[in-house]
């Protein structure tokens, strides 16, 4: 009999980046890298567990933008090109490193992984979402939704119509892909604002997540802290909150597992390390060096990096999985004694942490899930839906406004470099509401224009743009995307108001920003 539960959440998200108007577009690499390094390796982990009949539960928010990209034929075609180029490079690397066996082993490892990734990609007929859907249909993972374009809700509170649109578009997109309603939602950046639970309830969503302080600072005080969910007052939507202890063990880049010196170093990539003429065909067409994904060094702990040794890293991943499980067991035993109730430890991570940043992450997850299944009886992995089914009686609390971002509130998305976006985003939201009111029933060209207007608004709202502006110096792309979508929206607004819609231009932006084919602008009210 277990004494508590572990709910691992892998939040998978990338902003919508798709530029059919360019032959090659650098930022599309975010998707290709994540496919090779995270999504496909996770599929391998889940397939392996199924093959070996290991029971497990993972909760996976797949954002509507990510799903849209993973199911887009153009991006699928481009990924294939991308992985083929990588395979070609890996072949050359195997040759080049002939006299350096310590590197040649690695080149062969990459070559094998890339080839296997291509095989997997083609095995699922290029549609990786179908792989995850399959795991969900088998009851092993629970896929939940997110804001349509990952808009940060607390900074949209002034125009709740947009929050509604983010939720409703996401829910109907989920239904069209998975053939059922989503049970839960990952609020983008865990951004919760009291009152938004009403919008979730209206959309049929039963639970969401906040960061620890969202519930700990809730009113009234939560009796069991973050270790059982609470129901929002008035709506009964359940709120699960993050356990910081387990997050820190994995997340922290300094004391966390990924910083171990046997693990692969993220920052040494042959795209930067090798001779320019040699690497040129595999980097940016303008000759700008970029990451290729082939990285030969381990973290080492000093500037003099040592070659990566896969089996040592693997042993360490197993050790770290054991350590993580041990700590959760102790945590659960302690809490169970103390609470006289089974606690649920919610451990959410960015999925892209696994594999992309922490190369051994998928391997660690594999070890962890196997160990939990075979080696102990204290904890059981669970999805929030199952938990609520088994434990329907919970405390009623109004969680506090919070996010899981830097400093825990909205500062990451509301600071000097990005605060200018809100006056424009809010103005656009207001205009969208006005359009929806003015045109309750439409068809033909006008309907197309209204639907596209909502797409452009949603795209401008992605929290990623504000995040990139807030995080660093290379924000030109994020600024451009914000402005571009807002300008497209404004043009549409003016054309719709004046009654002369430029169909040729509309077709062009429909072709570029082609996500959510079945969107209905009337959700924005």
């Amino acid at each position: 009999m277990n004494k508590g539960y572990l709910c691992i959440v892998l939040h998978s998200h990338l902003p919508f980046v798709r530029h059919p108007e360019h032959e090659y577009f650098l930022e599309e690499d975010w998707l290709y890298e994540a496919i090779t390094e995270t999504y496909i390796p996770l599929i391998w982990v889940f397939e392996g567990l199924l093959n070996d009949k290991v029971d497990f539960r993972i909760t996976m928010p797949l954002t509507p933008t990510l799903i849209s990209m993973l199911t887009d034929p153009l991006l699928q075609e481009r990924y294939l090109k991308h992985i083929n180029r990588l395979i070609e490079l890996a072949h050359k690397e195997v040759e080049r490193t002939r006299w350096q066996p310590e590197f040649q082993t690695l080149a062969i490892m990459y070559l094998n992984n890339f080839c296997r990734a291509r095989d997997t990609f083609e095995r699922f007929k290029r549609n990786l979402v179908s792989a995850f859907k399959n795991f969900q249909d088998l009851g092993k993972i629970e896929i939940i939704t997110c804001g349509a374009t990952h808009g940060y809700f607390p900074l949209m509170d002034i125009c709740k119509e947009s929050v509604k649109a983010q939720v409703k578009v996401a829910v109907s997109h989920y239904e069209s892909i998975f053939g059922r309603k989503p049970q839960g939602i990952w609020l983008p950046e865990c951004g919760f604002q009291p009152g938004h639970d009403e919008i979730l309830k209206e959309a049929g969503i039963r639970y969401f997540f906040t960061d620890a302080h969202g519930v700990l600072h809730g009113t009234p005080r939560p009796k069991y802290g973050v270790f059982v969910p609470v129901y929002c007052r008035g709506t009964g939507v359940a709120c699960f909150s993050r356990d910081l202890e387990s997050s820190k063990q994995v997340w922290s880049s300094i004391e966390g597992y990924p910083g171990d010196y046997r693990y692969r170093e993220f920052y040494r990539d042959i795209g930067y390390d090798l001779d320019y003429e040699y690497i040129k065909p595999y980097i940016h067409p303008d000759g700008i060096r970029i990451n290729t994904g082939i990285k030969y060094y381990r973290i080492t702990g000093s500037e003099d990096k040592q070659p990566y040794i896969p089996h040592l890293a693997r042993e360490k991943a197993a050790e770290h999985a054991a350590n993580f499980m041990f700590n959760r067991e102790k945590q659960v035993e302690y809490l169970y004694d103390f609470m006289q109730k089974k606690p649920i430890i919610v451990s959410p991570y960015d999925a892209e942490l696994f594999g992309h940043w922490w190369y051994e992450g998928p391997m660690w997850l594999d070890f962890l899930l196997r160990k939990i299944y075979f080696d102990q009886e204290t904890i059981r992995t669970i999805t929030p839906s199952e938990y609520l089914f088994e434990n329907p009686r919970n405390q009623v609390v109004t969680p506090s406004m919070s996010s899981w971002g830097w400093k825990g509130y909205s500062e990451m998305w509301l600071q000097g470099p990005n605060d200018w976006v809100y006056r424009h985003l809010h103005a656009a939201s207001e205009r969208m509401t006005e359009l929806t009111k003015s045109f309750p029933q439409t068809n033909g060209l006008l309907k197309r224009a209204l639907n596209q207007a909502l797409r452009e608004l949603l795209l401008a709202q992605s929290s990623d743009w504000a995040f990139i502006m807030g995080a660093g110096t290379h924000s030109a792309y994020a600024v451009r995307r914000t402005k571009e979508h807002l300008l497209r929206f404004t043009n549409l607004y003016e054309q719709i108001k004046s009654g002369c819609i430029d169909e040729k231009w509309l077709s062009d932006i429909e072709y570029k920003d082609n996500l959510f084919p079945n969107i209905d602008y009337r959700v924005h009210q």
Partner: protein, 333 residues
């Protein structure tokens, strides 16, 4: 790497600052305060690390590309007097506003000279637990703003309260003329709520399902008086927030800043040509010729001696030529 380093340095400063302030005043409370501060800092460290990791998702090359010029720009304003408040964190709120030229002109005409001596201000009202009608705020404070500014970060100093802001003019007489009033927002609590009344529920559809399955209502909550006290104590000592299995303090290690560096690597290119249909091996392994019969191989060249026999054999297998370059590489520091 640079970003990580920068964050770490910043955090170090924050930590030092927090430590100092934690030690200064009210020795009686200082321990608890320090604990609270460490917790907050710890959360910040974690947050910054998460941010650094998340940032790697959006890799961008070091060389900055020239961004294509935007053909259009966003408008400066939207032609309405408006002020909007948003919550940044439990103490700080952000206001952005637009005051149209027409409104200013109108005010100028109305107020005449007084207009030019008026100060542009934000009046921040504490409107917690009331329906604000413009006169019944608990208190307010003014912030004088630069007429060019169009947004402002305001330190309310008060978590768990509601706020509303007017933008307007304060005349030399002290009279305040409102131009626009903001929405009302609520700054979240900074710590646990003082309200400990408990309410429990089973959602209706769950209850229906349970009822239908004949399970009854489920267990009653294990609440005794002593139990409640225990939970309360635990909350204060932070046990429920973090059961303290691994160490709590997270000393941030500051990596050495590398100022200068030099990397030297060598590679060897072996190239040649033969009849396009010939068979060529290099170190015993067959290689592919280009259609014109040329070939080129590139090897990372470690220290030591490399013997590289290159053997060409004619397509009919009769002629064989072997040429063996021998390369020795030595590196001196």
């Amino acid at each position: 790497m640079a970003i990580l380093r920068r964050i770490k340095e910043k955090l170090k400063k924050v930590m030092q600052r927090e430590k100092k302030t934690g030690n200064v005043k009210r020795p009686f409370f200082s321990k608890a305060k320090e604990k609270e501060a460490t917790k907050r800092i710890e959360k910040e460290v974690l947050g910054a690390q998460e941010m650094a990791v998340e940032r790697t998702k959006f890799s961008t090359p070091v060389a900055v590309r020239v961004a294509p010029l935007m053909r259009e720009e966003l408008p400066y304003g939207y032609g309405v007097d408006k002020i909007v408040l948003q919550v940044r964190d439990s103490c700080w709120i952000h206001a952005y506003w637009e005051v149209t030229a027409q409104s200013l002109n109108r005010l100028g005409e109305q107020l005449k000279d007084a207009f030019f001596n008026a100060k542009r201000i934000l009046r921040v009202y504490d409107v917690s637990h009331i329906i604000f009608d413009g006169t019944n705020a608990h208190r307010f404070f003014d912030i004088e703003i630069n007429p060019e500014a169009n947004n402002w970060y305001i330190d309310t100093g008060g978590p768990g309260r509601s706020w509303c802001v007017d933008i307007g003019l304060r005349l030399p007489t002290g009279e305040f003329i409102k131009i626009a009033r903001s929405n009302t927002i609520y700054t979240p609590l900074e710590g646990p709520s003082w309200i400990t009344d408990e309410e429990w529920m089973v959602p209706e559809e769950m209850f229906a399902r349970l009822y239908g399955m004949g399970f009854g209502l489920g267990r009653s909550s294990p609440v005794g008086k002593a139990w409640q006290e225990r939970i309360k104590r635990a909350l204060f000592s932070g046990i429920l927030a973090s059961p303290g299995i691994t160490s709590v303090a997270s000393p941030v290690k500051i990596p050495k800043v590398r100022k200068f560096w030099l990397n030297v690597n060598t590679e060897l290119i072996v190239y040649g040509a033969t009849e396009p249909d010939a068979k060529v091996t290099v170190q015993g392994r067959e290689i592919r010729l280009r259609p014109d019969g040329t070939f080129s191989l590139r090897f990372a060249l470690p220290d030591g001696k490399q013997v590289i026999p290159v053997q060409g054999t004619s397509s009919d297998g009769i002629d064989t030529i072997t040429i063996t370059p021998i390369v020795t590489k030595e590196t001196k520091d």
